[in-house]
């Protein structure tokens, strides 16, 4: 019975911990380590990274043995779209202003949902933009450019 490792929950978790822990250790070596009684900036991160690495190995092996699967499906599309929505907001705010940034962010985020009803999303965009401008720009007098960047 060939185990499907890429769907194995603990295998993946363990792998993630191993990678993160290993990275932490590798990067920490650039900082002075010092000794146990006189720790340098690199000591703590290196120890932590090492512990995480070891936990990762344990979880990975345990996963291989138990074979528990990841429940449900991976939501690649919603994940990508939500992340994109966030990134676009940050990118656009300074450059083309708050209003376009909000509208774009809302549209992209809404696209991550199961259904996308254009009229509803448009309405949502208008309402949210109006609300945000009212609260943040007029109410709180935050100096964000509404249209056009700095």
């Amino acid at each position: 019975m060939k185990p499907d490792l890429w769907n194995n929950r603990d295998f993946l978790a363990g792998l993630l911990f191993i990678v993160l822990g290993g990275l932490a250790v590798a990067l920490a070596r650039d900082y002075p380590i010092g000794s146990t009684m006189r720790m340098g900036p690199g000591y703590f991160p290196m120890v932590l990274g090492g512990i995480l690495f070891l936990f990762g190995v344990y979880v990975l092996l345990r996963g291989v043995r138990s074979g528990d699967k990841v429940k449900g499906e991976w939501g690649y599309r919603p994940l990508a779209l939500i992340a994109l929505s966030i990134v676009l907001f940050g990118f656009l705010l300074d450059r083309v202003g708050m209003v376009p940034a909000i509208v774009v962010a809302l549209f992209v985020a809404a696209a991550a949902g199961r259904e996308f009803r254009l009229k509803e999303v448009l309405l949502l965009a208008v309402v949210m933009t109006a609300f945000s401008v009212a609260v943040f720009s007029y109410g709180l007098k935050l100096p964000y450019p509404l249209l056009g960047g700095y």
Partner: protein, 496 residues
């Protein structure tokens, strides 16, 4: 007794009709802004405090106090409703509060949070008045060694926190510790894990981690499957807590208040740690620990009481030493300075009406908060019936605005997206986010104090055992370890 008189005097100052109106306005404003996901108390107060510039001193402070409470409660509201902590302390409320909301019990959760906070606030205010200076002096005995052993104890106890898998839970704590390491190392001044990016020199902010880990991950999980999934059950079983709820929540509230009051006096620890600590305590004390994480009302009452008690007693270092208790306090004091009122220790002694008026206003703000929000519970619950496809883009939007507004820097927004992806992966692989947050809070404190203690002791490790308070914590740590390991050795750990 002098202080009690002062407190009464403060109430006199604060209780005018005009001032009450300002307080109410502050509470309302603070709640409305604080409720926006990702916009936590610190950001809220930072955004709102310029409004108070145009007001005379006393109403300004009172309004700020109202804003402070409103914002804190707003943070708890988002924790319960949409699994998004407004500040570290509310992260713990997410664990059970959000589960209650999903099961149609958002109303009781919100109401309990308000009531527990109010109880804690009353106790806290009294404590300041009666025992302030004593507690303040006591806090001075806490040096680096004491903090270290306290953090160590908390770290070990955190294994109790994990809902399911103990090993993965601990791994999350370690991962949290590592995320907390990013930034300038206090003891050496070196920037760690900053990759030459200036924004990382100050570390990864709480808002970024919270939004990414909790909100983004939760939203994507809700969207991932192709068939519609009911996020919040349509059946809402009542807006107010039942008698049973109140009974269940009573003792945890009291215990939470006690824990919070103790931690609050220690500068640097405060609300976050106390809410985690009391959650762990309640879980250990409960007859059926497996209920925690599924919507146990104790898991809402205790942390809410704790973080409010801690926020109150955090005034004590301010009283005795003139040092702002937290970043939020610092902003408030800044507002005072700009009013033309000298800040620092002087404020306590030269202008007692201002200081005690502030303490009284905090209580009034707390009270008005309950009055304002209990009726609003119905509105919040109604909000959850909005179709999810409208709700989630709004959450993402406001979270992004909140993240941006922390330093007016798009980098924080980008970082949040990255953490969101990581958060989703972790949640999918059944690694809980709450322990990570605990590690993130604990890590810097532990390391900073450990190295400082050794530095002061010139490398002599016995310092942790020769100082009495530190020794007490170390013994407690060993005891906790024993208590945890023995049942595990005897048999499988039951579910929780």
């Amino acid at each position: 007794m002098d202080i009690l008189n002062n407190l009464v005097f403060g109430f006199g100052v604060a209780f005018s009709l005009e001032n009450l109106a300002y307080c109410f306005a502050g509470v309302a404003l603070g709640t409305l802004i604080g409720v926006l996901p990702g916009v936590g108390p610190l950001v809220t107060i930072a955004m709102l405090f310029p409004i108070t510039f145009h007001l005379p001193a006393v109403p300004a402070i009172i309004m700020l106090a109202g804003i402070f409470y409103g914002a804190q409660y707003g943070g708890s509201t988002t924790s319960i409703l949409v699994n998004l902590p407004g500040e570290t302390a509310s992260a713990v409320t997410c664990i059970d509060g959000y589960q209650m909301a999903r099961r149609g019990r958002a109303g009781p959760a919100l109401a309990t949070a308000a009531l527990a906070s109010f109880f804690a606030g009353c106790v806290g205010t009294l404590l300041i008045a009666l025992a302030g200076p004593t507690l303040g002096e006591w806090a001075l005995r806490f040096g680096a060694a004491e903090y270290t052993s306290l953090m160590l104890m908390a770290l070990v106890a955190s294994a109790v926190m994990t809902q399911g898998d103990a090993v993965k839970g601990l791994a999350m704590v370690v991962l949290g510790l590592l995320i907390g390491v990013v930034g300038v190392d206090v003891n050496s001044g070196m920037a760690r894990y900053s990759f030459g990016i200036p924004e990382l020199i100050d570390g990864i902010g709480f808002t970024v981690v919270a939004v990414g880990l909790f909100a983004v991950a939760e939203i994507v999980v809700n969207l991932e499957s192709r068939e519609a999934r009911e996020v919040y059950t349509g059946r809402v079983t009542g807006l107010m807590p039942t008698a049973r709820d109140l009974k269940d929540a009573a003792w945890p509230t009291v215990r939470g208040t006690a824990v919070g009051a103790c931690f609050g006096v220690l500068p640097g620890t405060g609300p976050a740690l106390s809410s985690f600590a009391t959650y762990m305590l309640e879980k250990k004390l409960a007859k059926d620990p497996s209920r925690f994480g599924q919507g146990a009302i104790e898991g809402v009452a205790a942390p809410e009481a704790a973080n409010n008690a801690a926020a109150q007693t955090a005034f004590i270092p301010m009283l005795t030493l003139g040092i702002p208790a937290s970043a939020t306090m610092a902003v408030m004091l800044a507002a005072l300075t700009l009013q033309g009122i000298a800040t620092g220790p002087q404020v306590m002694f030269d202008k007692p009406d201002l200081f005690w008026g502030l303490i009284a206003s905090m209580w009034i703000g707390n009270f008005l908060l309950v009055i304002l929000n209990l009726p609003l519970v119905g509105v919040w619950v109604r909000l959850l019936t909005v179709p999810y496809r409208w709700l989630f883009p709004s959450i993402i939007l406001f979270s992004s605005i909140g993240n941006y507004s922390v330093s007016n820097n798009p980098f924080d927004v980008y970082l949040c997206a990255v953490i969101g992806v990581l958060g989703y992966v972790l949640v999918k692989l059944e690694c809980e986010p709450a322990p990570l947050l605990l590690g993130y809070v604990l890590g810097p404190l532990l390391e900073e104090n450990l190295r400082r203690a050794l530095l002061i002791a010139r490398g002599d490790p016995t310092v942790f055992f020769t100082r009495p308070i530190s020794l007490a914590f170390m013994i407690a740590t060993v005891l906790i370890l024993v208590v945890m390991v023995v049942p595990a050795a005897r048999g499988k750990r039951h579910g929780a």
